[in-house]
Amino acid sequence: MRAAAAALAALGLAVLLVPPLAQLDQQLVDLRSAGLPPSLAHPLGTDQVGRDVLLRSVYGLRVSFLVGLVAASASMVVGGLVGLAAGSLGGMPDRLLMRLVDGFTSVPHLLLGIFIVALFAPSPVAVVVSVGVTHWTTAARIVRSEVLSLRSRPFVEAAISGGASRSRVVRRHLLPHLAPHLLLAAVLMVPHAVWHETALSFLGLGLPPHLASLGNMINDGQRSLLAGDWWSSLVPGLFILVPTLALGVLAQHWRDRLTPRLRSELSL
């Protein structure tokens, strides 16, 4: 828990502070120091054209995180609205919307993402759209099930019988209760979105190659892996693994706090 928070804080600081303070240029090609193993000058080595792997990973995390954040927010907004509509309208609209969600989840995410990105040239926008299109269903399902459980609670029934309009019930009663769950889902979706971006970039279908994204770096390093340069492809992967894991641990604690009943059942 503490270690997770510390790791996240350290990475966050690095992402925020390193780019303005860096002495080295992350795009600087230096063929004399190409493929160097980790040393004092380059703590995590250099890639096959002599760029510092640690520095570039921090930049890559920054790019991947930004793309992931935008994509996750987009899918949260779309999915949240669909889930809210389905849950609060009920009946036929609910059934239609949920069949739509089922349909979208039936197409494997990465395959749909690949399809979209292939037809629209590799760019941050295409990646964001591809992640948004494939991830909104998760948010829709969470929000709908929360709304359904909230709707049968006494305070909502009291508000409705008191003559509150549908929009007032949504604004004053549903949204405030949904907010923590939405936020938790959004936080958990960011690593998903980062993963998606990384996978697309790794396949050569994501962000343009000159951008220092983590997926691009792993893809670049893949070629020199067979020559023994493990650092240029494996180090960027750690920059995906560590924050994802740390965020997962923190989200778990948060979820336990949100649902005390679950916590007491688990600790029996």
């Binding site: 690949i114 396949l203 050569g204 892996l225 992967g237």
Partner: protein
Amino acid sequence: MRPAPDTGGTLPAPDRGRPGLGPTAPGTPPGPETGPESGGVKRAAPGTRPPRRPSDGLGRAIARLVAWRAAFAAPLLLAVTAGMFALAKASPFDPVRQYLGDRAVVTDPVVAERIRANWGLDRPVLEQYATWLGNLLRGDLGDSRSLHLPVGQVIAERLPWTLLATSAAIVLMLAGSLVAGTVAARRRGSLLDRLITGGALANEAAPVFWLGLLAISVFSVRLGWLPAGGLTDAASATVEFGDLAAHMVLPVTVLAVSQSSWLVLYVRESVVGVLREDFVTGARARGLRERTVLVRHALRSALLPFLTLLGARIPELVTGAILVETVFSWPGVASASVQAALAVDFPLLAALTLLGTLAVVGGNLLADIAYTIADPRVRTLGVG
């Protein structure tokens, strides 16, 4: 509650905080929330039918399930194809220009138009769609523009390799996760448990292509034990069993490991839950051996919902296969979809996307059929 583990015992609460899995809804069947009670769509009031013996409803229950799923799958597949065509129409990409490549600059526009007409690209998109759909129904998937082969032939050549690798990975994943999860549950709180749980959580966070590169780096480059990729040695012209097996080890293991985190955690969670149930205490009180209690009583009743969950994980499996096949240059359909995407080969990419969707729908159906067979309550109660 009857302490009768041989009929499946009780359903463990399947959703009791599966750690680290994120907010994925487990196994949502596309059917309506209240299953069709009799003969398809119409719902009869529950309890109007005389109770039947579990065995004679099985065939009918499965037939009903298949019919219901087919009724959902047909419009779904149609919608997927329509969506793909709409996306292709909206795309700024021009296949004729790509086909011509550098020659596009010097080619007479008349020739380019003739190619376009030849491919039927000048006709309205609805007409193109109808033609493509008609060909699809007749089994003609068109020609791959990048591989210059019929799409049907590409799939026929590559699908067996994908099926071989993924089925081997599924078997390995099931066996490994069952053992690891049960051991962790049995020794809950021990160092071993913490290692397994922590490992599963870390594994969940690791991208599968990174795991693949790590495996290549360790086992192929450093240790030199296993080949780094491909189906056979570059020198050999035929597929020999030993050679193939050596080339399969890394991709299959990486795919299995990358898919196993949720299963390990799930098995651990449900075995922990079931070990608290009365019938387990009863079995222990009767003096049964610990292994019998664990395997025959606890594990057996802990595993029912996991059949459905397994079906719901097919999309992840497809995703994993795409990445693993690409990392290890495995000549399957999944890596072909990446090649098709890089070459913007619409006929091949569309066919493979459809195939992936079909795999998901079919996998869910298989999981539900298995569930119907495994749990007698499903067919007697008619829960679709």
